[in-house]
Amino acid sequence: MSRPPFFIQRLPLSLRFALRDLLGDPKGFGVFIACIVIGVAAIAGVNGLSHALERGLAREGRTILGGDLSFNFGQRELSSEERDYLTARGRLDEILLMRAMTRLEPVREDSDPAMIEIKAVDPATYPLFGALETSPPLAPAVALAQEGDAFGLVADPMLLARLDAKVGDRLAIGPAHFVIRAALAAEPDKLAGGIGYGPRVIVSRAGLAATGLLQEGSIIRRLARLALPNAPSDDAVTRAADAANAALPRAGWDIRKRDSVSPQFTRNLERFSQLLTLVALTALVAGGAGVANAVQGLIERKRASFAILQALGAPASRVFAIALVEVLLMTALAIVIGLALGATIPYFAAEALRRAIELPVTADFDPPSLALAAFYGLLVALVFSLAPLGRAHDIPVAALLRGDADAGSARTPLPYLVAAAGAMLALVVTVMLSAGDRRLAGAFIGCVLAAFLLLRLVAGLAMRAARALPRARDARLRLAQSNIARPGSLAPTLVISTGVTVTLLVALALVEGAIHAELARSGSGEIPRFYFVDVAKADSADFARFLEEQEPSARIDRMPMMRGRIVAVKGVRVEKLQVGQDAVWALEGDRGVTFSAAPPKGARIIEGAWWNENEKARLVSMESKVAAGMGLSIGDEITVNVLGREITARVANLRKVEWRTLAINFVMVFSPATFAGAPYSDLYTIGYDGEDADARDARLARATAKRFPAVAAIRVKEALETVDKIADQLALAARAAASLAIATALLALGSAIAAGQRARLHDAVVLKTLGATRRWLIAAYILEFAVLAAAACGFALLAGAAAAYGIVEGLMTLPFVFPADVLAATTLGALGATLALGLAGTWTTLSRKPGPELRSL
């Protein structure tokens, strides 16, 4: 007996009919499924990976932090009272971090000094959690022990490569001697130390003391890490931190807990993963045109079936329900495939990330990420399918009797348009609710909506122009013109797909161009060549003379520098302070602070006035954005902890800082009287240009290392290269995400071309009968696609440039550049790709023989 399977019979009516229809004719959903699969997989993957990272940070928090709690004392030594308090509460590990220069021993004339990031530890207590891995494997006590005149040292392999050194070689840091005992394989608390500009070197605290670098005013960071007894809970850790603050309220330390190891890193991670999620969402939305085309195609193909059902007694709402269930079943299938793919992405990416940035990331099954991705997939499917599905509601059944159920074009009834708008609203709300940074999400949604609406407008204008312009005299042009103008024209999809693709490509090219242009600028003499850190106050005059002798024509600047931490704003402790996003970074950890009698270069006073040279009051000049974020205005008070002392100063003026000049600049510049008598070191910059600037850099670095071994010379070019490398990696991720959006946009274009085949076939067959050759038809199609693609590219160049301008000038504060050659190549490439795709799509039309087709038309 041929009854349908029992399970199908028991299903609700609409589901039963939908399943029957899909099983009978499953074609036409390829693009629909592909578009949703790509978007859902990308969102699930990106979210899964960022959650894996967050979980890894949480799980390994105490290892990364180096303890349950970490107390940052800045430049100052722990007091005995503080040390006693902490020792009584658990195991204590003290470390020091600082920047210095090193050279291979014995020193040769041509041996280049290298900047290093020193971590000085106590081998008896370091690390409290995890293990220091070295090659060859050595215990810290062995690796760092003193033998003869030399202390043991563990060095980042990058330093060994840079100095062409090997294990067993000797290094000089200041007047002290070290021997490289091992290469650093893994540093458990690397992330908590922040990203440095030089390779890491681990020495004992006794070794660091021997270098003579620990002078009053040296820029160092002292951290004390505490391991609480009996595997404490996160709450117990928080209580311990609160108790420490209560017991020693004037300590001025910055306490980090194991569940918030690096707020800045976590925030950047959140931001970046959110950005990737939004780009992945763009992939889903760009594929929306493909979804809509597929559903439109479904309704077209099933018009007769739906009309018959209505003739057999199905209410229009039932017919809509059947069509909706078909779409939802296909959506569910696409979501399942997308989730299966997306769930595997973190497993692959985690391995790569573990190797690249030594993060404790372990991927596992992540239901919340998958649920969010599935929900996005469902919403996008609904947004783009409800309107075309609504056309199933008003299929003219009477046309069946006339034998032309395909006749007439039903419009979407209002309720379905309202439902589609509702789904769109739900999508926007979901994006906003799941976004950590609502401002970014809002701006992104605004840009995407504006881009889609404008592109649709461009397409509409192209269609209108094709209708309004006088009919072309050339028949090929006339065919192109009528193809653009007619209902069901390719114009909207082609313009949106090509437009989205080119907009993304142009924006990416321009942002990358700006970053690279900035890097190239570092060799042009506009920005300093070196920062010299830790020039002791006593040596400062000598050092200035030394620089002038070395580079007589160079621009040399000097500023005193100390490390300080903001502890209170307008009398409110920062722990209790809610600040704007522009100010969050300034409150995290230590900031460089300085004092000056005159306004710094590269800054403009925008409110208030600079102080007199002999000002006796404690005044501060604040960077305007940070001040706005903290709600500070002229006359308000701010308290900083410098060298363990809390100092309160009044805001005298606000400065707008051009950070990108890389000239010496500080968030807070105090009046000289504020720090009268306090120890400090000087920070110098030197700038010069010329063809031989690189060679002069090397010469200056060597001479500095020889004369002033304690001074750390940071070469701006190298620092920028580090930044450039990070930027390149981020750009790669952004490009990968954007390529998904481009893939779905092209899929949508392909589906639109396929959907338009029938009308095109009719014209092509008739024209062939009248004598048109294939070449003639190709020329007509090229004209049609080229006109539309050119309109899309023109708009996309403007939109992409506008988006890039916002990112480059607004977010990155870099100068905007417009590399015409890159843009021309991008645009021509996209134009060519659109033409190729269009012609490939119409090839079947061109190759059809007119005879058989005419009979079926």
Binding site: P4, L13, F17, G24, S305, L309, G313, P315, A398
Partner: protein
Amino acid sequence: MGIIGPSGSGKSTALMTIAGLERPDRGAVRIDGRDITRMDEDALARFRGANIGIVFQSFQLIPTMTALENVAAPLELAGRSDAFARAAEELRAMGLGQRLSHLPRQLSGGEQQRVALARALAPDPLILLADEPTGNLDSETGAAIIELIFEQKARRNATLALVTHDPTLAARCDRRISLRSGRLAREPERAS
């Protein structure tokens, strides 16, 4: 009732109006005492499902459904629990007992029209509307279909409204209506 007339005379429009698929500009359509022109779309659809069976010239079977599923469809839409048993019975009555699981494209024109007839009759409608039911068939198959239609109509005591170009076919009806330019061309004739 046979409805005849040249092309464009309004035969199909008359049939559609009776089926409630088109609304008349004026007047009313009463079936079994109920004015169907006052019903909304959904009520009309349900009324049509229960009371009117339609046979189309071009069969209008749902291509993705088997013969059995096509016939069961109106019964399922009406919420009948015995939809498939009843559909199978109808198909057997049409001589299609061996064709239940075939898709429309696997059936000949005559078989397709018999499936369509079984589908129209399955809910036991008061009225059977047939629009040129033999228009797409050869004369022999067409004749067989016409026999089936008249036989089933008689057996079920249903009202048949048959649109046709063929005066001999119309002559077999109890009553004939001739249309011209949307109007009755002459008084209805009653067969003896």
